[in-house]
């Protein structure tokens, strides 16, 4: 099965040491853990909430909760995965609060009837990203992610940006593995379609397809 090799065995052991130290009240150990993951947690929070202030709140809440719940950390999963689970929870709560008029069905099955409808097929350049500056590119990619529904966006962010496994994503979002898979497929296909506008080879015709 696909394993996320974010950290090697050795780094894992070292990290477990830090967690143990932090748990026994060693502040330096905990702030080492914070420094290690703050960037990724902030990116994750921003990608899910799409909001600067919310992302900062999520970042802070995540680490405060992690500290508070350190005694509950079993060491069965990686510390980072555990942290991500807290962060995803916080981020989803923010999203729900923002959308009080329309509840976001994040943990309910999403209609998957038309999940594989592809409308646009066009060949892309070999390295389409090279035609844009780093700034333009991140704008394009962010806009595309932002346009996804939260339920799809969150799965895509966890699987393809944070590189969590399908199982870890399912755990973090509290949804089933088949739900992760079908949402991921839909998210990927939607992004592909949105990016086609920017990345297709010039001069090619775009034709319709079922």
């Amino acid at each position: 099965m696909a394993e996320t090799n974010l950290t090697s065995e050795v780094a894992n052991t070292e990290e477990l040491g830090l967690v143990t130290q932090a748990r026994s009240g060693d502040g330096t150990a905990f702030s080492d853990l914070v420094r290690r993951y703050e960037r990724k947690i902030y990116r994750l929070a921003k990608n899910i909430t799409q909001h600067d202030e919310d992302a900062e709140d999520v970042l802070q809440e995540t680490f405060l909760k992690a500290y508070e719940h350190l005694p509950d950390f079993q060491g069965n999963s990686k510390f980072y995965t555990w942290l991500v689970r807290i962060a995803v929870n916080e981020a989803l709560m923010k999203l729900r609060k923002r959308k009080t008029d329309r509840t976001v069905p994040l943990d309910e099955p999403v209609d998957t009837g038309e999940e594989t409808v592809v409308r646009e097929i066009a060949v892309w350049d070999e390295d389409p990203e090279r035609q844009f500056s780093q700034e333009e590119l991140s704008q394009i990619l962010n806009d595309a992610v932002q346009s996804l529904k939260p339920a799809f966006r969150t799965v895509f962010v966890l699987r393809d940006i944070e590189e969590l496994s399908t199982e870890e994503t399912a755990q973090a979002m509290n949804i089933s593995i088949p739900a992760v898979k079908s949402r991921l497929l839909r998210a990927r296909l939607q992004l592909r379609e949105k990016l086609t506008r920017f990345f297709k080879r010039k001069g090619d015709d775009v034709f319709a397809y079922l």
Binding site: T28, F30, E56, L189
Partner: protein
């Protein structure tokens, strides 16, 4: 021969290289014979590549600073920042 619809259903397994040998061969056969599905496969693969290549931006200085201060305060960690508990 897989239909295009079946191919799309298995696209994740193909992209993530989690398909077993037999399925993988059927998927390969399909893309080699179906130009549309080849384009979908290729552009989705590139989609993932550009996202994975996007570098994580640095956390803004003020955001980092506020986080460390908060942690120092709430967690009484003397080592978290300049201020002790």
């Amino acid at each position: 021969m897989l239909t295009c619809k079946e191919f799309l259903q298995e696209l994740n397994e193909f992209l993530d290289e989690t398909a077993d040998q037999e399925l993988r061969e059927r998927l390969m056969t399909h893309v080699s014979e179906c130009p549309n599905c080849f384009v979908i496969f290729d552009t989705t693969r590139k989609t993932l590549r550009v996202y994975k290549g996007l570098e994580a931006q640095e956390i803004p200085d003020d955001v980092h600073k506020r986080l460390m201060e908060l942690i120092a305060k709430r967690c009484k960690c003397s080592g978290a920042s300049g201020g002790g508990a």
